[in-house]
């Protein structure tokens, strides 16, 4: 028999995995709802998932490749940029949508119980559609430029996992912060805008002058992006950056979940 005990919970708790599994159907349905609303009811539908990276790619390639003429190790500039955009687009979308997701779901949250972490997680899952579309786009672009990807591509699944972890850890942190401080609704887009320039998407990290290298590499996305790119175009394995990224992401994930679980206790009272 199910027994439900209701009392004030401890401030620091880890996630209840068993409970989360019981709610997997809800997580899936909410994700599907998001996807349907995002794509099925717009005029060009899923085409948006292509249009978005396509135009970003065109602009970045024009600015960094044609105008600024940044040298990218003998790789077509479009391939170079798209392999960076692949991770960046996913992470930035999940950050923005995940961060604001709690506010968007406040009616539901105040009317029914379910593990609250499901809300940012729907965005983590939902963003995968764009991720897959961008990946397919990259696969089409490779033969178009007659570029044969590096054999490192077999490691891509591992990096996919790292990308998802990075996106979700930041999204969980931001949504917990948004519960506490509504200001983060406006802070998140700002972080994304600045982050776009501070992340080596359209330029190689090797171009960053030596004296800024340490500061530049504090951005955990540097390792993730450089690592993903290594899968497609090879070159030096960014070991140092990757170790730093993985450690940071694991730490962000751990602390983010704890903080989220702490903030969720008062979520209904302050929304």
């Amino acid at each position: 028999m199910e027994i439900r005990i209701i009392e004030k919970s401890k401030p620091w708790r880890w996630i209840d995995i068993k409970e989360l599994l019981e709610y997997r159907e809800l997580l899936l349905l909410l994700t599907l709802r998001d996807i349907k609303i995002k794509y099925a009811y717009t005029m060009v539908g899923v085409a948006w998932a292509v249009i978005n990276p396509l135009f970003t790619l065109l602009i970045l390639t024009f600015v960094f490749g044609t105008v600024a003429k940044i040298q990218v190790l003998g790789v077509p500039h479009a391939i170079f940029t798209l392999s960076g955009l692949l991770a960046w687009n996913y992470i930035s979308t999940v950050m923005q949508e995940g961060g604001n997701s709690i506010v968007g779901a406040q009616n539901m949250i105040s009317k029914i119980y379910f593990p609250r972490i499901i809300i940012p997680l729907t965005k983590v899952l939902g963003g995968l559609i764009d991720f897959i579309v961008t990946f397919l786009f990259l696969l089409i672009l490779l033969p178009f430029y007659g570029f044969i990807p590096s054999s490192n591509i077999v490691y891509f699944p591992i990096f996919t996992l790292l990308i998802i972890l990075t996106g979700s850890s930041i999204a969980i942190w931001l949504s917990a912060l948004t519960i506490r401080f509504r200001d983060f609704q406006y802070v998140t887009p700002f972080i994304v805008r600045v982050g776009m320039y501070l992340t080596p998407i359209a330029y190689p990290a090797s171009l960053v002058p030596e004296k800024f290298k340490t500061i530049f590499s504090i951005n955990p996305l540097v390792g993730v992006i450089e690592g993903t790119r290594w899968c497609f175009i090879g070159g030096d394995f960014p070991l140092q950056e990757l170790i730093f990224s993985v450690m940071t992401v694991l730490f962000l994930m751990f602390s983010g979940v704890l903080f989220f679980r702490n903030a969720e206790r008062v979520i209904v009272d302050i929304l």
Binding site: M1, I6, E7, L26, Y113, R180, R265
Partner: protein, 418 residues
């Protein structure tokens, strides 16, 4: 019989006035000034205080009390939506909470998609929804539109579908907030019937309602809450009596804790009854007294087409409504943010002897109420000044309302016709 719900000193405290979260600036200033200036006037408020009770298997408990008595807070705590500040409760069995019908419904999705989504939100398994799908659709009576996006539904259809899902929830223990207050009378009856079946099937239910008729038919036990405290438990009749006594004395309300305030541009934060421009102290008035209702409305953002409404009920149901506070055009244009008082005179003399209650509503034109305060105010009308003309206002007459006639006698009909 075994106990399925045991609550021990459940309490819930809210901070009044300033919200407990804030913008970053507030938190930072508070953090730095904590040691210096600690006499921040934070009013603490117990929405629920030391509530203890036991509910046995198969009991159907009607939870009654005025607005702000703590009914919804109690249901929210038992439903795990919010945590108690203090105290403990044990619930033995599978629980389903129904605090709203149609939670998670999305206008862009079809009826079919919404059934699955809403079912999952309410805690039903996919297989369970599939099994009951046909039954749900049949109950809602909207078979033809099941693959149409619900944004094309009429509000009646929307509510039917939403309720149909909820009515097919199967759990040992159910918490039901006032969800029957929606839909047309015919459908409400059908729902009451369905709930009656549920109640008879041996399930344990806590049912919140302002409708004593519904409480009477459905429940076999009553809990009476007042200002966060569980004052009495007992038979339904006895509890209803306590509730009516309590209602008698509501000539004004304040809605101050954020829990009950919806997040909408205009919202009602208070209301009072006035006589000759002064707040009414005793809830008893004469048939000929000039009574007005004042609404205190907070404008948080100047938005067009928001409107408040007042409904007047007698013991049998809704008597009349006073529409659209904002129908005066200049009120709708660029109103600065702030708190406004609206006043409207009750038509007088109109109300007969008897007890009347007023529901307040705020909402967007064409969308429906987004804030609803049931039985916010109540009024007892008596014939204090004796006069033969007032006979029509006597409780002994069958009319629902009465007017003082102004008859004219027209002498020469022929002449008038020509």
């Amino acid at each position: 019989m075994k106990t399925v719900i045991r609550a021990e000193k459940l309490s819930k405290q809210y901070t009044l006035g300033k919200k407990s979260f804030g913008d970053l600036r507030n938190t930072l200033t508070n953090f730095f000034s904590k040691s210096v200036d600690n006499n921040e006037k934070e009013k603490l408020f117990w929405a629920l205080k030391d509530v203890s009770f036991e509910i046995k298997e198969g009991e159907v408990v009607g939870l009654v009390g005025k607005n702000g008595a703590g009914k919804s807070t109690l249901l929210k705590i038992l439903s795990k939506i919010t945590e108690p500040t203090d105290g403990k409760a044990y619930i033995y069995g599978r629980v389903a909470s129904l605090l709203e019908v149609g939670t998670g419904f999305h206008p862009e999705l079809t009826g079919r998609e919404n059934i699955f989504l809403n079912g999952a939100i309410l805690g039903m398994k996919r297989s369970e929804i599939k099994r009951k799908f046909d039954e749900i659709v049949e109950f809602s009576g909207i078979e033809k539109f099941i693959d149409t996006p619900v944004k094309r539904y009429s509000s009646g259809m929307y509510v039917r579908l939403a309720f149909a899902v909820a009515a097919h929830l199967e759990a040992e223990i159910m918490f039901i907030d006032e969800v029957l207050a929606v839909g047309d009378i015919e459908f409400q009856k059908k729902c009451l019937g369905k709930m009656g079946d549920v109640a008879k099937s041996g399930r344990t239910i806590i049912f919140v309602s302002h409708n004593m008729g519904a409480v009477n038919t459905l429940c076999n036990k009553g809990f009476f809450l007042k200002q966060g405290e569980l004052i009495a438990t007992g038979g339904v009749g006895e509890i209803a009596q306590l509730y009516f006594e309590d209602l008698k004395s509501s000539t004004h309300i304040e809605i101050s804790h954020s829990q009950e305030l919806p997040d909408i541009p205009y919202r009602i934060i208070g209301a009072e009854l006035r006589k000759n421009g002064k707040p009414l102290e005793e809830p008893v008035v004469d048939v000929f007294d000039k009574i007005s209702i004042c609404l205190q409305v907070e404008c948080r953002k100047s938005v067009k087409n928001y409107s408040a409404m007042i409904h007047c009920n007698n013991e049998f149901g809704r008597l009349f409504s006073i529409f659209e506070v904002n129908s005066i055009p200049e009120y709708m244009e660029n109103r600065p943010e702030g708190i406004y008082w609206y006043e409207v005179d009750l038509p007088c003399p109109l109300l007969k002897e008897g007890r009347y209650t007023f529901d307040l509503e705020m909402g967007h034109f064409g969308v429906g109420p987004e804030q609803m305060i049931k039985n916010a105010l109540s009024l007892e009308v008596q014939i204090l000044s004796r006069n033969p003309r007032f006979e029509a206002y006597s409780i002994n007459r069958q009319n629902l309302v009465a007017v003082v006639p102004e008859w004219k006698i027209i002498n020469n009909i022929k002449e008038t016709v020509q």
